[in-house]
């Protein structure tokens, strides 16, 4: 293994520089290609490694494609004919394939007859860095940066010289810095103490690994220097981790807020204890899944579309619930709790029987996966970042609706004095429907967001219903601001506790805290004061 790691990318780089790269002379006898691939189809991974090396050296222009497909596990071989093919789509039983040598369409083949040319993590790692080297020559700066980052910790003797030249010709400072560090790590591995200077202050985890292993070096000087550099890095990391925890907290909080805000309306404003709220969230999530099924291949678009769709579906479901159950339970909130609990059971089992008891896959679009790098040590996961933003937007919109629109006015009127509102010509029933639809719709939105974070399955709802109630009650029933503050603060508290208390204990502590808090402030963070609130 080690040997290959050493040789592989270097060789690749060398032949690039010697100019026999994918533009090289066209030795197009498929014979050679066949032979190269034959050698790939070897039992041992060492043999495979050598084969890969051979492919690289061959400078065959198809090699890049081959390596990519090999990496993706799509390069396969027909058991009987021994023909090499590239699988295009490998989900059902018969797979469309193209010829691996000519890249021409080869119809469909049954997965029974195909042998995958397997690689393992070790090989994968090396292939990646090999391909990374290639990317050093693309025009896109970001690709070059990623490539350079990929090379951290995988530089070796034969690469050093060529890399130097690359650095010389590289115009992007960031890429240069990264490559310098890559070299430095290599030099450090050779025991060069000066190398440490180049690594100081880098928060990149691979750099830290390198330094860490350097601290175990036999040369005491190197060891000390390394640990010194490390200490400095750790220092910076501490600040980072502080920020990180805060972000974690806010992100968890935003989830809680999203889940609870719909409840804050149905429960806080209408006084309806909707136990099916969780299932409405679930419906939103399933809508996202459905949209992605309808629009295969473009998860991003599907996700965007499912925002209105999710809202609608959940809202309609809400209306159905309101008409069929809740309207009969006016002024009996605790009864609504019981009835809607029944509804939630039904909805869950409905999903199980109609769709499936299994979880469904919801794909994250490109622009929502990965993370936004603030610095080498601190990066914010994109999906959560989006959810956080989404939560705030939803909240803002709700505030607008409640404060600025006719509906909001009527809602507040009806909740404060039904009879009075009626006599002033407000159609209370209609308002009820609208309010409940609104709350449910928001739940649907929560579902859409949650589909990006967690399971989309029949149990999705149950996992959030209790937390949601906690948040609303903690924040003060009937107060949207309360819900926002409560959700975010609970999230942060939880995440701050977690590192030293552990996940379970943290949650318990939070619950106990809520209980005690309610003792102190029986009406939550932002209670409604005055006689109106009294029984």
């Amino acid at each position: 293994m080690w040997m290959i790691r050493a040789v592989l990318p270097g060789v690749w780089l060398l032949c690039l520089l010697l100019g026999l790269a994918p533009t090289a002379q066209a030795q197009q006898q498929t014979g050679q290609g066949q032979a190269l691939l034959e050698s790939l189809d070897a039992p041992s991974y060492d043999a495979k490694a050598e084969a890969i090396e051979a492919i690289i050296v061959s400078g065959d222009e198809r090699s890049r494609r081959w390596l990519d497909e090999l990496l993706g596990g799509k390069l396969q071989r027909h058991k009987d004919t021994g023909r090499f093919v590239i699988v295009l789509e490998n989900r059902s039983r018969n797979w469309p394939v193209i010829d691996a040598l000519t890249f021409e369409d080869a119809g469909e083949m049954s997965r029974r007859d195909l042998d995958r040319i397997g690689i393992n993590n070790a090989l994968r790692g090396q292939l990646q860095s090999a391909l990374a080297v290639l990317d050093l020559y693309t025009d896109d700066v970001d690709d070059r940066r990623d490539a350079a980052r990929e090379l951290l910790g995988s530089v070796d003797a034969p690469m050093v010289e060529p890399l130097r030249e690359v650095i010389a010709s590289e115009d992007d400072a960031e890429v240069r810095r990264l490559l310098e560090q890559a070299l430095a790590i290599h030099r450090l591995e050779q025991g060069e103490i000066e190398a440490i200077a180049d690594l100081e202050g880098s928060l990149n985890s691979r750099v830290r690994s390198a330094l860490n292993s350097a601290t175990r070096s036999d040369d005491p000087l190197v060891a000390d220097a390394a640990s010194a550099a490390l200490a400095d890095i750790e220092q910076r990391l501490r600040i980072n981790s502080g920020l990180e925890t805060l972000y974690f907290g806010l992100s968890l909080g935003s989830v809680l807020v999203l889940a609870a805000i719909g409840l804050a309306i149905t429960f806080g404003v209408m006084g309806v204890i909707n136990m099916a709220h969780g299932e409405l969230i679930m419906l939103g999530a399933y809508t996202t899944w459905a949209m992605q099924q309808l629009l295969p291949g473009q998860p991003g678009l599907a996700l965007v579309l499912s925002i209105p769709a999710g809202f609608l579906v959940a809202a309609l479901a809400g209306v159905a619930i309101e008409r069929s159950v809740i309207q009969f339970l006016k002024g009996r909130p605790l009864e609504t709790l019981l009835a809607t609990f029944g509804v939630s059971l039904i909805l869950q089992q409905l999903v199980r029987t109609v769709i499936s008891p299994q979880n469904r896959t919801v794909v994250s679009p490109e622009w929502m996966s990965g993370s936004l790098m603030i610095n080498e040590g601190l990066s914010l996961t994109l999906n959560r970042l989006f959810v956080l933003g989404f939560a705030l937007v939803v909240f803002a919109c709700l505030m607008l609706v409640m404060r600025r629109t006719r509906l909001g006015l009527e809602v507040r009127a009806v909740t404060q004095n039904r009879a009075m509102a009626r006599s002033m010509g407000i159609r209370a029933t209609r308002v009820d429907i609208m309010t409940f639809a609104l709350g449910s719709g928001v739940a649907g939105l929560a579902g859409v967001a949650l589909s990006q974070l967690t399971n989309v399955g029949p149990n999705l709802g149950q996992n959030y219903i209790i937390d949601s109630f906690m948040v609303v009650v903690f924040g003060g029933v009937g107060n949207l601001w309360g819900t926002l503050v409560a959700g975010l603060s609970l999230g942060v508290i939880n995440q701050v506790l977690e590192p030293w208390a552990g996940a379970v204990l943290a949650k318990i502590i939070v619950l106990v805290f809520i209980i005690l808090f309610i003792q102190k402030r029986p009406r939550g963070l932002f209670p409604q004061k005055g006689r109106a609130a009294e029984g």
């Binding site: 429960f267 006084g271 204890i273 136990m275 159950v325 009969f328 339970l329 002024g331 009996r332 909130p333 605790l334 009864e335 709790l337 019981l338 009835a339 609990f341 029944g342 509804v343 939630s344 059971l345 039904i346 869950q348 089992q349 409905l350 029987t353 149950q462 209790i466 109630f469 906690m470 009650v473 029933v477 379970v504 204990l505 949650k507 318990i508 619950l511 106990v512 809520i514 209980i515 005690l516 309610i518 003792q519 102190k520 029986p522 009406r523 939550g524 109106a532 609130a533 009294e534 029984g535």
Partner: protein, 381 residues
Amino acid sequence: MWLMQPFNEGATRLFLGVLLACLALVTVLHLAVPAGHPLHVSAYTVTLLGKYLSYALLAVAVDLVWGYLGILSLGHGAFFALGGYAMGMYLMRQIGDRGTYGDPILPDFMVFLNWDSLPWYWLGFDMPWFAFLMVMLVPGALALVFGFLAFRSRVTGVYLSIITQAMTFALMLAFFRNEMGFGGNNGLTDFRELLGFDLRTDATRLGLFIATGVALALGYVLCRAIVASKLGRVSVACRDAEARTRFLGYRVERFQLFVFVVSAMLAGVAGALYVPQVGIINPSEFSPIFSIEIVLWVALGGRGTLYGAVIGALLVNYAKTVFTGVMPDAWLFALGGMFVLVTVFLPRGVAGLLAYRFKGQGFKRGSNETLSHDISKEASA
């Protein structure tokens, strides 16, 4: 003597009569009628009924606080489970060296988690009297502390319901932790004998069934006695017009606390009777969903009429048994539908229906239209 009061009530006499008759009937049909005969009641059924009865006792406890005190506790499962754990710990100690590892003191799960000695809170549970005492004291103590805090600061209506839910939820998470020393998710199981009786014999099962029935009868009488006393009337007063009751000079919070604790203890007893019959106790009994279900039994049977709670508990659980057997894939529809229909169309539950027939003592009070008052109050909370 106030405890004897209920025996003068027609309704109570009727209820006790039916209950005891059923106990006798089942016993006879189980012992006298030969197996295979269509009228034979199998040991399986007996245990099942025993389980239902312990649920019924639990429902009575909940109805006492919800029906008569207007406190909707979504955390009574916690008291039930605590009682169950107290009993479970006793049963675990009874296993002695017959566990898989043959350790004379430590339960199996402690052995393979490398506990070298019993944690302090397991001490004494080898003595039945102590364990049975704990069955009531532990839930009682929790109720006392929790209730004291809650009622003192006048947490009412929905707020109270939600924090009771928080309480049981927190306890569930806590008991899931293996460090707690209660067997974590697996809980306590593999029980062998209770007071020297082998739990795996039908005779013991019948005994447990009868014991549960008697416990239910006693619990019912106790609750009726409380309800029929002046204290019961004060509770109803607290339920319907808390402020007014205060201005009459009653310390509402103390009355609430008293009834709450009594109810918690009853729930504990129910749990203790439940465990040896189902053969396992684990944190899932703490789950808020279970507590909500209990409330549903009461609502379905008819809130504010103790016997209604009993009917509700029996009906729902029987239905559950039947459905999960007859329509495994669809039983949740049936159950869910049942809850919806009853709450919407039978606001007074099954008891409401019965009430049209008889109009005896104890049927009048606490029927639902009189509840509208406190509920609209809860609405504003």
